[in-house]
């Protein structure tokens, strides 16, 4: 596989010899999580704003879509996008499909986070913005979004970690991410312990890094002038 030889003499040499493959998988995992989370951050905000639309039909339709995305398993959505859509003439590459599926599912979650954040902006802020004759776009861009960022950060961080840990499910649509590769190595060598332990440890490290990054952000934001409530 990938032209690598592995040495199963001792667990340590075994781990060392498969590390390059696991790291290739790690880059796929990270790329999928980054792409998926970017989609979730943008699309979630779009959903949250559409649900606040004054046009009832738009708000209602968005609610139904969000509810649907949230209430169906990621696995089903993945299979659907990857194996059913091609029957209707839409074939997407595996990685893109995976990123879209992760992004769609998590955008349903993030839209709720955004919604909570927007609703927590005090009434007085909206009224002051109206009194200054700011347009709705200005209000969201300059008043609402900057104020909700510190408030929604912890919840968004949780979803990032959750999504990261859910990336192994992408292996079912042939994406060779870290977990899928570890599994394949296990199948070849009949030794699952070492590769799966490595994957577990790497996920743990990733999660710790995310948490540390989040703490740092929460400390850095007030210094950047955005007060935490």
């Amino acid at each position: 596989m990938y032209g690598f030889e592995w040495d199963t003499a001792t667990p340590l040499t075994y781990a060392w010899s498969i590390l390059p493959i696991i790291l290739i998988g790690l880059t796929v995992t990270l790329k999928a999580a980054a792409a998926g989370f970017s989609i979730a951050l943008v699309l979630g905000l779009v959903f949250a704003l559409l649900r606040r639309s004054r046009v009832k039909a738009i708000a209602w339709t968005t609610s139904v879509v969000v509810e649907f995305l949230r209430d169906t398993p990621l696995l089903v959505q993945l299979f659907f996008l990857y194996y059913v859509l091609p029957d209707y003439g839409l074939t997407l590459p595996a990685f893109l499909t995976g990123a879209i599926a992760l992004g769609l599912q998590y955008s349903a979650y993030t839209s709720e986070v955004y919604r909570g954040g927007i609703e927590a902006v005090p009434r007085g802020q909206w009224e002051a913005a109206t009194a200054l004759n700011l347009s709705r776009t200005d209000v969201y861009r300059d008043i609402v979004v900057p104020q909700i960022v510190p408030r929604i950060l912890p919840a968004m961080g949780n979803y990032l970690v959750a999504m990261l840990k859910e990336t192994p499910v992408l292996s079912v649509i042939t994406i060779l991410e870290m977990m899928g590769l570890a599994n394949m190595i296990g199948e070849r060598t009949f030794d699952y312990l070492v590769p799966l332990t490595m994957v577990g440890v790497i996920f743990l490290l990733l999660t710790l890094v995310c948490s540390a990054g989040l703490h740092w952000l929460q400390r850095a934001l007030p210094k950047a002038g955005i007060p935490l409530q």
Partner: protein, 259 residues
């Protein structure tokens, strides 16, 4: 006596405003001349703040017509969002500014950005020009040295003065003060009142003030309106209202607040 009065800048024509079953303004008529300084007094729930909030287009109303700076709008049977279009409302708003009881400064913006935000976004001024004007306005309210502070670093009185500068930056023809000193510690009331007092000398600026500071109302107003149960029960020159009120309800109210 052929002198013609100038066209009113504000005219409520038979406006009725209800919150559910509660009628807050009842067949309400009220006009204000350009440049006039009017104080609205009365017990809480008598509708005086609602008058300001309707003028600022923060509240819809159900019946009647409101004319502001020559532009009218009405909301026949409106209970939900404003019936008038957003563009029309924004045009009306462009003449009005408001100072709130709880300041409502934007907490994530410096004092300077609070003041320049709307002039840049709405009036289309360049940032440099807006900041230049903001410096003058902050000097006017005595806070030129605080321009880089954030609201949380200021006292309530200072925050309210910034809010006044922010409202003035939009060059409103009508400035509304909704209990501007009610949320302040007693020792901070004076600094805000002195800023409002200095604005009262501006001839072109129409001011509507809802306040419980009776001495101040008497000092700065051209006219005092006593509100009771969604109507103006009595109005007149401050000296007349405060020394010689005609209505029993006015006498009662003044006796209770002046002690």
């Amino acid at each position: 006596m052929t002198q013609t009065a100038p066209a009113p800048i504000i005219a409520f024509d038979r406006v009725t405003k209800r919150f559910g079953a509660l009628t807050v303004l009842d067949d309400f008529n009220f006009t204000v001349a350009p440049g006039e300084k009017v104080t609205l007094i009365g017990p809480s729930g008598s509708g005086k703040s609602t008058v300001l909030r309707i003028l600022m287009t923060l509240e819809p109303f159900q019946e009647g017509t409101l004319t502001l700076a020559g532009m009218s709008y009405q909301q026949p049977n409106g209970t939900g969002p404003f019936k008038a279009g957003e563009r029309h409302l924004r045009q009306i708003r462009s003449h009005v500014g408001m100072v709130f009881q709880s300041f409502n400064l934007f907490p994530h913006m410096s004092v300077m950005r609070n003041v320049v935000e709307a002039p840049v976004r709405v009036l289309g001024l360049s940032r440099a020009e807006a900041e230049c004007r903001a410096v003058d306005l902050l000097a006017l309210v005595g806070l030129a040295d605080k321009k880089d502070h954030f609201p949380a670093q200021l006292s309530g009185g200072q925050q309210q003065r910034v809010a006044i500068a922010r409202a003035l930056a939009m060059r409103p023809r009508v400035l509304l003060f909704d209990e501007p000193t009610s949320a302040l510690d007693p020792q901070l009331v004076g600094e805000v009142l002195s800023v409002i007092r200095s604005l009262a000398h501006e001839h072109d600026l129409t001011m509507l003030l809802v306040t419980h500071e009776m001495r101040f109302a008497r000092e700065v107003s051209d006219r005092v309106c006593f509100f009771d149960k969604g109507r103006i029960c009595e109005q007149g020159a401050p000296d007349q209202i405060f020394t010689n009120p005609q209505q029993p309800r006015t006498r009662e109210f003044l006796a209770s607040v002046l002690g």
